[in-house]
């Protein structure tokens, strides 16, 4: 019975997040246009794009193999499964002890499927994009993992019900750990915003797709339905990644019971996600250009990961002392 409710919740959450995340990318495009003194597309533009892509003819390259067709579906499936482990204002639907590992795994797996699909097209541009994507993937995740594990370890010292679960973020949070942890938290805000920007690949980190340089790189061969699915999955993933940032750093929610409590908390969470994405995506991509891949990797290891180490050590000291 509980599983049936959780599944129902997952379906509703999936519908909600699909709509909200596409809506946000509409708002994002509008805001970017306004920042550059353009009128920009209507806010519902991503929905029209999606519908159009779904109705277009899908072309399969002659060099493609079975993964080319399977990868977008697998990617979307992974992202939907990931929603069950995402904190969205209330604890994740399938929260268990240690589910943070599942979360990180599925988040990476979605990218991995995309990469597999891209190289399966046989297009050399796609291959370059995929190689860059892998390099970015390997460079950006350690900073996030270290930050998340440090915060969760700190929280688990405060007697939570399920240690190292994303649900524990709603029992206690990083700001309760004392003044040393506040400094750590400020460092981690920087780390997480940078990670989010590299995860959704905007601004400095818009390298694998790099429209002008390598002709759309990763998505060069995808068209029609598959492109629509990938775009949808990517925007849901954007929402999920931002949700993680919100849950780790700004988890304040209203303490209200009943079904309206869940809905209200979901709305509050969505607003916080919008704010985080506004900073990390909209503004960042308007004011910065793209780095070269070597520079981006350098930035991720020397600036972001190093900051993450500093943040984690400060946090550990704050908890221990």
């Amino acid at each position: 019975m509980k599983i049936a409710y959780a599944l129902l919740g997952l379906i509703l959450l999936y519908i909600y997040v699909s709509i909200i995340s596409l809506l946000f990318s509409g708002i994002d495009r509008k805001l970017v246009a306004r920042m550059q003194r353009r009128i920009g597309p209507p806010i519902l533009q991503p929905f029209y794009d999606f519908l159009k892509l779904m109705s277009k003819e899908t072309i399969i390259p002659s060099t493609a193999n079975f993964m080319f067709k399977a990868a977008p579906v697998l990617m979307l499936a992974t992202v939907i499964a990931l929603l069950a482990y995402t904190p969205v204002g209330f604890p994740p639907l399938f929260a268990t002890k240690g589910d943070i590992i599942v979360f990180i795994y599925l988040l990476t797996l979605a990218d991995f499927f995309l990469i597999l699909g891209i190289i399966s097209s046989g297009n050399p541009y796609g291959r370059i994009g995929a190689a860059r994507e892998v390099a970015m993937l390997v460079s950006r995740e350690p900073a996030m993992m270290l930050g998340v594990f440090a915060v969760m370890w700190g929280i688990s010292k405060l007697n939570v019900e399920k240690p190292f679960s994303l649900s524990s973020l709603y029992e206690h949070n990083i700001w309760e750990l004392g003044p040393m942890a506040w400094i750590a938290a400020v460092v981690l805000i920087y780390v997480f915003l940078a990670w989010l920007a590299s995860e959704i690949e905007v601004g400095f980190f818009n390298i694998p797709e790099a429209e002008e340089e390598i002709a759309e790189g990763t998505l060069v061969e995808y068209s029609g339905r598959y492109l629509g699915i990938i775009k949808l999955a990517e925007s849901i993933k954007e929402f999920i990644a931002a949700s993680l940032v919100v849950a780790v750093l700004f988890p304040w929610q209203l303490n209200m019971s009943g079904i309206e409590g869940y809905i209200l908390n979901l709305v509050i969470h969505t607003l916080k996600v919008f704010v985080v994405l506004l900073v990390s995506k909209t503004i960042f991509r308007t004011v910065t250009g793209r780095l070269r891949i070597t520079q981006a990797i350098n930035v991720l290891w020397t600036r972001v990961f190093a900051a993450s180490v500093v943040g984690a050590l400060l946090l550990a000291m704050g908890v221990m002392l």
Partner: protein, 510 residues
């Protein structure tokens, strides 16, 4: 009545009748070998069930009890506990699939009656090691297994690499076996008995320096057989040179039964009362850490597909040895139990997934005639089923959650992190290398099809069927990881630790 003797009788009968059966022309020898190995599989399942419902089986050859008129065992005994039963099951399973696979894979070769005789003898030798409770009998079966595998590695004796790898393997392998024999001779001279359980009893009463020297000789010989790091070089040559069905058995079974199982059995069931287990454990852990890093790191740089898989086997043996070593040092604690259960679980899982990967490599070799990874670009286009099997196998060996490799590696990570965080970090580094190696192969397979690859196609049903059975086994076991671990692997680890029960069931029952 117990099914146990038939586990030896049936393959022995099959092997010895093979020259006569092969006088019939046509497919008689293939069919005969398949029937024999299927019958062995059925007996293996029955033995497994028997042990799991009735506890340890003790079987004395030639009489009802191993004692005769004496008050100590004088006959050869076979003693199958839960760990042994797991090994029996996995040996018969993988051997059956390898023989089924050979029907199509080996059809271009000549001298097949010798091939099927040898492969049945190889299976027989491994089963003997798993069931025996007598140390000299163990040596005999170890040699049966080793000699059959020397011959099978060099089976394609018209190729230079087969002969080269066979000679290398035989020279060093014989040396390693002679260490084991020397160890046995020392133990017999000191304690006057060859039954494992009774030796343990004698050793506990009178631990001597001879026992320690014997243990050192055993460990030296058996680490060689398992392909641990400083002595893994034979493996990297033997696995690529052997026919792929043999590589699957060598990598999936031989290095585990002749190495891991034998070390676990000798240390836990024989030397446990006489030596300081922590020292032995740390020696094993050091070798394990070196093996982990060397094996996985060397796998990354390979260009030959089967060589890559061979080095990856070395790396995975490192994990199993790590679990085993922690199981020795942390004897009697919760951490040690998890580690040992993880080692046993990983032995089973790695047998299944490495068998699958070698069968896939064999299919590629069979269709394209090359093992060079640079020429195999875009294989997924023309051999989709084979590539899919490889994808599953590679994901399982890296340890991705919905597949079986996850749970076993998790147990090893968890226990090593609890035991000593540095060792846990080494295990993670090993996995990072392993991931890099397999991702590279996947990128090649899913890339742009090269001209050579365009002419290939999926192999026939006799080669695809074993691969698909292994894929189903990987996915199926992956769906119930903790149930398998709690129901089978942890009890097996406990019985392996429980030497009192091992000795008692030998001396009291039988």
């Amino acid at each position: 009545m117990t099914w146990l003797p038939f586990i030896i009788i049936i393959p022995l009968f099959g092997a010895f009748s093979m020259p006569i059966v092969s006088l019939l022309k046509g497919k008689a020898k293939e069919i005969w070998a398949t029937i024999i190995s299927l019958a062995t599989l059925i007996v293996g399942i029955e033995v497994f069930r028997e042990v799991w419902t009735g506890g340890t089986i003790v079987y004395a050859l030639g009489s009802e009890t191993p004692f005769g008129k004496a008050n100590f065992p004088i006959r050869i005994v076979w003693e199958v506990d839960k760990f042994g039963a797991i090994m029996v099951l996995i040996i018969t399973f993988v051997s059956f699939l390898a023989i089924l696979y050979s029907i199509e894979y080996m059809k271009h070769d000549t001298g097949l009656e010798k091939y099927y005789t040898l492969i049945l003898i190889l299976e027989l030798g491994m089963l003997g090691i798993a069931i025996t409770g007598d140390i000299f009998n163990f040596y005999v079966f170890l040699e049966i297994m080793s000699i059959a595998s020397y011959a099978l590695v060099a089976f394609r004796n018209d190729t230079w690499e087969g002969i080269e790898a066979g000679i290398k393997y035989m020279f060093v392998g014989s040396l390693a076996s002679s260490f084991v024999l020397l160890g046995i001779a020392l133990l017999y001279g000191q304690y006057g008995t060859l039954t494992i359980g009774y030796l343990a009893l004698k050793m506990s009463q009178n631990p001597t320096i001879v026992a320690k020297v014997a243990l050192a000789l055993f460990l030296g010989g058996l680490l060689f057989k398992s392909g641990a790091a400083p002595v893994h070089m034979w493996l990297a040559d033997a696995h690529p040179a052997a026919p792929s069905s043999i590589s699957a058995m060598l990598s999936g079974l031989v290095i585990k039964i002749g190495g891991i199982y034998a070390i676990a059995r000798v240390v836990f069931s024989m030397f446990l009362p006489a030596v300081n287990l922590a020292t032995v454990g740390w020696i094993v852990i050091i070798f394990a850490c070196i093996t982990l890093i060397v094996g996985n790191a060397m796998a990354v740089v390979q260009e030959d597909m089967k060589r890559l898989l061979a080095y990856s086997s070395v790396g995975q043996i490192g994990y199993i040895l790590l679990g085993l070593g922690i199981g020795m040092v942390a004897y009697g604690s919760r951490v040690g139990e998890i580690a040992l259960a993880g080692a046993i679980y990983h032995t089973v899982n790695h047998a299944i997934m490495k068998a699958l990967l070698f069968l896939v490599a064999g299919a590629v070799l069979h269709e394209l005639g090359t093992r060079n990874l640079n020429e195999l670009s875009g294989l997924a286009r023309t051999m989709p089923k084979t590539t899919f099997a490889f994808l599953i196998g590679a994901a399982a060996i890296v340890g991705m959650p919905p597949l079986n490799g996850f749970a076993s590696k998790w147990l090893i990570y968890e226990s090593s992190a609890l035991f000593n965080p540095i060792i846990g970090a080494i295990a993670i580094i090993g996995t990072a290398f392993c991931t890099a190696a397999y991702i590279r192969v996947l990128f090649t397979f899913f890339g742009r099809p090269s001209e050579k690859v365009m002419k290939a196609k999926d192999p026939g049903i006799a080669m695809l069927l074993p691969m698909m059975i292994l894929v189903i086994a990987i996915i199926g076991m992956g769906l119930f990881p903790w149930q398998i671990s709690d129901k089978f692997m942890i009890p097996a680890a406990r019985t392996l630790w429980d030497i009192a029960n091992y000795v008692a069931s030998l001396m009291g029952g039988g």
